[in-house]
């Protein structure tokens, strides 16, 4: 279960970052007004968030308990 969640989070982050990058303003514009605007608002924020989520996946991988593990004693 932990591995699945980790992979989902990682994939989610990659998708978010990829989408954010490609939905932002074109990297090689053809010089029209539209080239100065992102294709989707907050696309850049999505990209940054995607990168954040990718690294969050590491925390997920380490911190989430395995399914069916023993009781968590307070440490």
């Amino acid at each position: 279960m932990r591995r699945t969640v980790f992979l989902l989070v990682l994939l989610g982050g990659l998708v978010l970052a990829g989408a954010g990058f490609f939905l932002a303003a074109p990297v090689f514009p053809t010089w029209t007004e539209a080239d100065s605007n992102p294709r989707v608002p907050f696309a850049a924020g999505m990209f940054a968030l995607g990168i954040i989520v990718i690294f969050l996946a590491a925390a997920v991988y380490e911190v989430l308990p395995d399914a069916g593990s023993e009781d968590r004693r307070p440490s």
């Binding site: 090689f28 053809t30 010089w31 029209t32 007004e33 539209a34 100065s36």
Partner: protein, 303 residues
């Protein structure tokens, strides 16, 4: 335990490759390489402007250096029309001297914004406040600008100006003096000396705030080719006010405009063409200034 006898490996470049191995490895490499090239080619585009297509408007300016005599009326007209604040010179006229006495020459060079087709300022703006319009104007959206001044440091021609102060406190007149108040009352709210109401509007297909100077503290601005006049079919203020007609503005895609005609008939140069910025301001009537020109009566405007 018996030692497994094996062929001693050839020293140097490794074992001999069998033909099949070679084809396998080589074929894979070639296929990957081609695939990589195709993928990369898709993404590595040409960042220059599209070639002008006939029928599309592409504005440009032609400056006749034979006629210009450095009166700087264009600088004044630009100031009045665009309400530029102190120490801001969207249009600037260089007065140069060249050579050594007695073989001296004095020359003048008006310098508006070049409205480059491959503008470095457009490329580096982090939020797309500086953008290129389809009609060739390079516009600055003062509603979106965050004031990072990246366009300013990247412009080779240094045509950008930043609102270092609250623009209302940086005008030439103190608008709070009794005389100013009187004039304001008499002219029904048009603040002296002349606040151009057109500058507050949105312009262009994209409906963005791109006209005029001194709207907001902490944002960038520069020559707009008087977009608020051009969209009404008028000439920019500098062009209209030049007493000798040294500045010519027009649609360079239309072969019948005076600007296009001049470019066909005369030799022209553009400033710093080697940098690849593709400026849209052409100079005719004189060879380009050499590297040894010295500015005289140069303006250093301190805010």
């Amino acid at each position: 335990m018996a030692k497994v006898a094996s062929e001693p490996k050839a020293k140097g470049y490794g074992t001999q490759l069998s033909r099949r191995d070679f084809l396998r490895v080589g074929g894979t490499a070639a296929a990957l390489g081609t695939a990589g090239f195709l993928v990369a080619d898709r993404f590595i585009g040409d960042a220059k402007a599209e070639a002008p297509t006939p029928g599309k408007v592409r504005y440009g300016m032609v400056i006749d250096l034979e006629r210009c005599f450095g009166c700087r009326t264009c600088m004044e007209a630009c100031k009045v029309e665009n309400n530029t604040t102190r120490a801001v010179f969207w249009m600037y006229v260089f007065r140069f001297e060249e050579g050594r006495y007695p073989d001296m020459q004095v020359r003048y060079l008006p310098r508006p914004c070049m409205h480059c087709d491959n503008a470095p300022c457009v490329k580096v703006c982090p939020v797309g406040a500086r953008y290129k319009r389809e009609d060739g104007l390079t516009a600055t959206d003062w509603d979106r600008c965050i004031g990072c001044r990246y366009c300013q440091v990247s412009c080779p021609y240094s045509v950008n100006y930043f609102n270092w102060k609250d623009p209302k406190k940086n005008q030439y007149l103190d608008w709070k003096t009794p005389e100013a108040v009187e004039v304001r009352q008499a002219t029904k709210g048009v603040i002296p000396p002349y606040k151009n109401p057109d500058l507050e509007e949105r312009y262009g297909k994209e409906k963005r705030y791109i006209a005029g100077s001194g709207h907001v503290k902490g944002v960038m601005e520069k020559c707009t080719f008087c977009v608020h006049r051009v969209e009404k079919g008028l000439m920019p203020a500098c062009v209209s006010s030049c007493p000798v007609g040294a500045l010519i503005f027009g649609n360079l895609n239309d072969p019948e405009t005076e600007a296009s005609r001049l470019l066909r008939q005369k030799r022209f140069f553009r400033l710093e063409e080697g940098l690849g910025t593709e400026p849209r301001v052409y100079y005719v009537g004189s060879p380009p200034p050499g590297a040894s020109v010295r500015q005289i009566e140069g303006i250093v405007g301190r805010v």
